[in-house]
């Protein structure tokens, strides 16, 4: 794996096996600097494995060629805040001590959580905790921001607000962003590009050309939604049944 000063994210020939089970099959993927990509897939499709490899949480296999920027940060489905550190200390964790608090507080202000900077994580709501987790990723000024189903556990109204926040932050800082999700609507609402992963291979790679802000009501939204669902193996007749 090479870390470069450039913002390129290039994955070539990435294969991950757990015992007999091949989770990622010789995967190639290039992310444009500053782009917003959604990685869509059913559970077990290998999307989380890919994200963990990019985050450096799982070691990359020796035969894979990965080019990643130096500054990578992630937010997970569970906020993973340290319960014994106040919100701002959680954001500042791992930063050089000089100026850490100031930087943390600036990041908290950006996610709209200044009023909770002295709070214990256990007292935060789900949405607040996820905002703190975003601030903790953001404060590192990442060139590659990885989001692993960060809104899956939030209620629908909070999720809508978080979507808007993520887009605002992405526009302001413009990191290359990769969000892993199983929510088709979320992928279409947020991303420029949706990559569908199926059994460790890229099954579809679709550019989303709708202008933002996007809404569920647009015909283009519905068309794309149907296409993505079909890629995921959910056909029209199933949808009609569900309705």
């Amino acid at each position: 794996m090479s870390k470069t000063s450039s913002r390129d994210v290039v994955i070539e020939g990435l294969t991950r096996r757990f015992g007999e089970n091949t989770v990622l099959h010789d995967l190639d993927l290039v992310l444009e600097p500053g782009s917003f990509t959604a990685l869509l897939g059913r559970s077990g499709s290998g999307k989380t494995t890919l994200l963990r490899t990019l985050a450096g949480l799982d070691p990359a296999p020796a035969d894979a060629r990965l080019t990643l920027p130096a500054a990578v940060a992630a937010a997970f489905q569970e906020p993973r805040l340290l319960p014994w550190k106040k919100v701002w200390q959680n954001v500042a964790i791992g930063l050089p001590a000089a100026g850490a608090q100031e930087r943390a507080e600036r990041a908290l202000a950006e996610v709209g959580l200044s009023h909770r900077r002295e709070a214990w994580p256990a007292t935060l709501s789900g949405g607040e905790a996820q905002r703190a987790a975003l601030a903790r990723a953001l404060v590192r000024e990442p060139q590659l921001l990885l989001l692993d189903e960060p809104f899956a556990a939030l209620d629908a109204l909070t999720r809508i607000r978080m979507h808007a926040l993520v887009l605002d932050l992405w526009r302001a800082h413009n990191p290359t962003t990769l969000i892993v999700t199983h929510d088709v609507d979320e992928a279409i609402l947020l991303a420029d590009r949706v990559v569908v992963l199926d059994q460790g291979r890229i099954a579809a790679d679709i550019a989303v050309e709708m202008p933002r802000p996007r809404s569920h009501g647009e015909p283009a939204f519905a068309t794309l939604r149907r296409r993505l669902l079909s890629e995921l193996g959910v056909e029209d007749d199933v949808l009609r049944h569900a309705a």
Partner: protein
């Protein structure tokens, strides 16, 4: 009659400044708290009555009044403070050694696989031995001075600290460790910011347990050839059939235990202020 009694109590408690701020519903728990003290007081009164009526001979058990009087005299003569300080210093020294040993072993075993293999097995084996059974050996090894007494306290407190801190370190959520690594903590930073704070709740339970064991060890240790300390006071009193002084000694042991427990609880409230159940309370 019982009814008027029950009604008059909440009125009294409402006149207290703290209770005045509380809602009317708070009067009930206050009453219940008072009721909790009622039965011990009644028991002591019954004990006093039985002693005064000659039903309990002073040789069996001195009356509460005599106990209080003897306690007061021992306090004024400086005898009680002297023995108390000796006992306290034994416990504090033994506990400090036990804490250092238990913490050291737990860190070695908890933070490395090799450490676990080397340290855990022998400690788990030693743990199953009732440590008080080592008293004869300790007398042979350390004689009858201060050393065996402090060693016994140290031994008794090492295990609870070791076991709880080790379990606490191993019980830290691996997802938090992973997040810590992801956000740039090195090994030392992980231990300091993630692993030790995560193990602290468990370790404090161990500390509380260790304090209990420390007093128990002290009681046993002070039965062996002590020439000072609360245990000596009690043994000496036994030879002169002074049940009043024996009871004074027992009360002092109990108060010391209570005080130690309160100390750890205060420590917990401070160090574990982040815990959700403490936040609500």
């Amino acid at each position: 009659m019982p009814d008027t009694h029950a009604i008059s109590l909440p009125k009294q408690s409402l006149s207290l400044p703290r209770a005045r701020q509380a809602l009317a519903g708070r009067a009930m728990p206050d009453l219940r708290k008072l009721r909790r003290f009622l039965s011990p007081v009644v028991l002591v009164l019954l004990w006093q009555a039985a002693s005064s009526l000659g039903l309990i001979s002073p040789r069996t058990l001195a009356s509460p009044a005599t106990v209080i009087l003897s306690g007061w005299e021992l306090l004024l003569s400086g005898e009680l403070p002297h023995h108390l300080m000796v006992s306290l210093s034994r416990v504090v020294t033994g506990l400090a050694i036990g804490l250092a040993l238990g913490t050291g072993f737990a860190l070695v075993a908890g933070l490395s696989r090799l450490g676990e293999e080397v340290v855990d097995a022998p400690l788990q084996m030693l743990r199953t031995l009732p440590f008080l059974a080592l008293v004869p050996l300790f007398i042979l090894w350390f004689g009858i001075g201060e050393t065996p007494k402090i060693a016994l306290v140290a031994l008794g407190t090492t295990f609870p600290i070791y076991l709880t801190l080790f379990a606490g370190i191993r019980g830290v959520d691996p997802k938090l460790v992973e997040a810590g690594k992801m956000f740039g903590l090195d090994r030392r930073g992980l231990v300091r910011h993630v692993i030790l704070p995560g193990a602290l709740p468990s370790a404090l339970v161990g500390l509380r347990y260790a304090l209990g064991t420390a007093w128990l060890s002290l009681v046993i240790a002070e039965q062996i050839n002590a020439t000072s300390g609360i245990g000596f006071l009690i043994n000496d009193a036994r030879d002169f059939l002074r049940t009043d002084i024996i009871v004074v000694g027992l009360v002092v042991y109990a108060l010391l235990g209570l005080g130690a427990d309160a100390l750890v609880r205060a420590l917990e409230r401070r160090a574990l202020a982040w815990r959700p159940n403490l936040l609500k309370g």
